[in-house]
Subunit: 198 residues, 4 copies
DNA sequence: GAGTAACCGAGACGGTACGTCCTGTCTTGGA
DNA sequence: TCCAAGACAGGACGTACCGTCTCGGTTACTC
């Protein structure tokens, strides 16, 4: 008896599906990741697919999710300013590349596809927000940042603008734009604050 | 003299379509604003509709667009802090209501539906960004805000977080959340800045 | 023992479609046999319909086809003259009735709808031509007819005039007209031939 | 006021329309002779077109009609057999060429388009049937053909088979086929008749 | 090691919306 | 006054994808 498959068939099927979906996403974006296409390429039947995921967006979210975490490792540069700025820079760069398009499509689909939202949150947001929270807490411990601001609010302030630009395309996502956003978020919009800082 | 049809036919058709679309959006969100449904309710044929708009998202954007401007008048409270905070509060409130859902669906659809993006930008972003730019310039003239920050960046910083929350639903859009975001954006995330400010 | 669904799904779908189409043809001719109408009445989706037939004319041809064969049984009166004349009479009568209109519409549609032509030939012509060929061969065996004439040419000569009249409506399809045609075809147009015959 | 146009505008418009239609028929068959296309090419508005013809098939019938008469002049070879056979040969050749396709489409359309039928009859059948009737009467006068057969029946017998083949494509329209049909029609299908004839 | 039950591939199916096309009517403004 | 130019309603077209379902064959447990 082959112990090989302590992973039963269902696990292998999931893997095939996720792998095929990743390929399709790269080739043609979310639009190409049709359930039929996923089924055909993975060799897993649609019925089986729908046993594991509620809708195709959920599959795509799971398939694409880890990639982002891998692509954006947590910086550790010694100061809050440097760490957070660098993180904004990295995320911005990710958004600006081909994966950004896919990310935007996934986020968009999650709005429509109610069932996919939890998947999107699980595979995209949670990890990333936890990462930023860690940076934030590290900075808090060092007394570098304003303790009246929650990690959540800080995250939204730093990355919300990037998301905004990604979704609407109204403004560029170039590196210096990312820095301008990070700097403004860190030092604030008011005049007094910035006098001696930069 | 027949004032009756000072509007030529094409104008009447457009009006009918936009009106019907508004109703459908209110009744069932973007999902209900099918081209067929719009055609049926407005009495305008599909062929004609497709002569005026490239896709249904574009129609919805135009139909829904003015509403937002109307719903969010520009505040004028005397100081930059008050004005900008109030504006964030108002936009947040708009997003939190039933129109927020529709707005989110529209933004999401604009990502997928390439042809609709310009419509979305024209009927949603441009006006609103111009409004905020005016607030910003007013504040700049008064010397209240950091002149190193562009109006665009300021806008993204203040409203990007709201959009982010609206799209992912990862955090609430309550009034005090809006204030926390505005305050953090104005004073910055760093500690030093905020010591004497609040 | 469940005889109920010895037919797999696809067969049931085809049957439903053909049945619904037959009804629609009777009610409003080929014009009423819209794919949408067929889909609605049969409960079979358009996608499925288009999986089985290339166009609506093909469906109608298949649906209507057998009826003609059933309506026109092969005569067996003992002599070539009697058999062939009777057959012309029967076909003419069929054309003169309500089914004739539908038949004409189908034939007309097959000209335009290239994809439907094979269906029309299969479900209308082939059977009927085979029938006439049998009559012809029977007559040939008896030595009653001119062996220099092929069954195909004989068929065209006997029934072509009926089709011609049906399509253009330039001349009636009454019984005695049918007989005149059959007689003329059998005995020929030249004078000598007919001297002693009638 | 310019008397120049004893042909008023309406006549010039008709000409333009018929000319444009002829071109379109040659280029893409009846399918290309859209009312819009005719209007665009002729420079005559659709409203005007519909003032002169009830539907597009009627236009095409009229535009295409004379061509057939021109293409098939009446033979005069001295004997009924020769004349009628030659006429069948010529018509068959016409049908076999590119114009045959258009003729078939027109005949087909006349079945569906009730309003076009009279046009088709006027511009196609009447002239041609009159021609054949003349041949027939000439032959009758010479005592060559069976006076019990009407000119109409004779026409149907000789040309119906060609129409039949043209419409269904079930048999070729080559020259020797045409001759076989003519011969069979003239001498009849029965054996006795043909013994000494061929 | 055979029998049995769960599972899965393959893909047909109903449903729904899409965007295109053409017809025949109707309107407008210019000649 | 008449017409070109073309907008319009109406309605069928054929396509695409979704999520459900049915079928038969394979796999993997049980006895």
């Amino acid at each position: 008896m082959l112990e090989q498959s302590s992973h039963p068939r269902s696990v292998r099927a999931k893997e095939s599906v996720l792998c095929a979906t990743k390929e399709l996403l790269d080739e043609g974006g979310l639009g190409a990741a049709t359930v039929d296409a996923i089924s055909a390429r993975s060799g897993v039947s649609k019925a089986t697919i729908y046993k594991h995921w509620p809708c195709r967006t959920a599959i795509a979210a799971e398939a694409f999710g880890r990639r982002m975490a891998d692509a954006i490792p947590l910086p550790d540069e010694g100061t809050a300013i440097a760490d957070l700025t660098e993180q904004v820079r990295r995320v911005s760069k990710f958004y600006a590349g081909p994966n950004g398009k896919i990310f935007a499509q996934l986020l968009a689909a999650s709005v429509t596809d109610e069932a996919a939202a939890p998947y999107f949150r699980e595979f995209f947001l949670d990890t990333r927000r936890a990462n930023v929270a860690e940076l934030w807490n590290r900075a808090l411990a060092r007394g570098e940042v304003n303790s009246a601001v929650s990690a959540g609010t800080a995250t939204d302030l730093l990355f919300g603008p990037l998301i905004f630009r990604l979704m609407t395309g109204h403004a560029p996502l170039a590196e210096q734009e990312a820095e301008a956003i990070a700097t403004a978020a860190l030092h604030g919009l008011l005049k007094a604050n910035s006098a001696e800082d930069y």
